[in-house]
């Protein structure tokens, strides 16, 4: 599964994507964020306020309780500021 990062999430982690196979107990986007936050200090800094993180699965917006099973691409990013 590819995990992509944007804006300050990307900057804090220090790269724009990872390829992961998370353990089976990581079932939702919210659980993925919690799992990533424990990897190292950079990931911890990126996800220190998990409630502000927005997510997309295969380029569609999803909520934190969305299951990640079958996802090819999960993206994690701050609230959007386009327009």
């Amino acid at each position: 599964m590819r995990v992509k990062y944007f804006a300050w999430v990307r900057e804090r982690i220090g790269k724009d994507e990872d390829d992961f196979e998370p353990p089976a107990e990581v079932r939702t986007v919210g659980e993925l964020i919690g799992w990533l936050a424990q990897r190292d200090d950079n990931y911890a800094a990126a996800f220190e306020r998990p409630q502000v993180i927005r997510a997309a699965i295969d380029q569609c917006h999803v909520q934190a309780d969305a299951p990640i099973a079958g996802a090819r691409e999960v993206a994690l990013f701050p609230p959007m500021t386009g327009g």
Binding site: A7, H61, M80, G82, G83
Partner: protein, 155 residues
């Protein structure tokens, strides 16, 4: 005829008149064209802004804009829609975003343009970083932008 839709994400500037002409030329059923142009401001929240850098999520940004354009087409009798969003580094006065909507009558064109801008602000995967005198910082999302997008759900 299905309404022509143009969606572009680009570094380059755009030409408002050329985009309006491209969408309306030779189509005598169009009576109203509304354009919205977003510009980079030199101050934000009282602080001077030297430049903006816009980042986006390639692929999803186009798809998300397309979904909202399709929603607008289903909701209002539109003749054509164009959305152009720039990315990269922009300085005050630079154009950032263009939405053009065309319809036989003005109400549909106005409503669809405002709807699309509200959704772009709150839902399209773009992020702005400001260069300011006190350093560089990502722009915080505004709750009023979420509220502006949400009001279209109720109607």
């Amino acid at each position: 005829m299905a309404a022509p839709v143009t969606i572009r994400i680009q570094d380059a500037d755009f030409d408002i008149a050329a985009e309006i002409d491209a969408l309306s030329h030779g189509r005598s059923e169009i009576g109203a064209v509304v354009s919205f142009t977003g510009l980079c401001r030199g101050r934000d929240d009282g602080r001077e802004v030297a430049a903006l850098t816009l980042e986006h999520y390639p692929g999803m940004a186009e798809a998300e804009i397309r979904r909202h354009v399709d929603t607008a087409l289903a909701r209002w009798p539109l003749s054509a829609v164009t959305v152009i969003h720039r990315v990269g580094r922009l300085v005050p006065g630079d154009r950032i975003v263009l939405v053009v909507t065309a319809s036989a009558h003005r109400q549909a064109a106005f409503a669809a343009a405002e709807f699309l801008m509200d959704y772009l602000k709150a839902h399209a995967p773009f992020w702005k970083r400001q260069e300011r005198a006190d350093g560089s910082a990502w722009v915080e999302a505004h709750q009023h932008d979420d509220a502006a997008a949400a009001r279209w759900e109720k109607q």
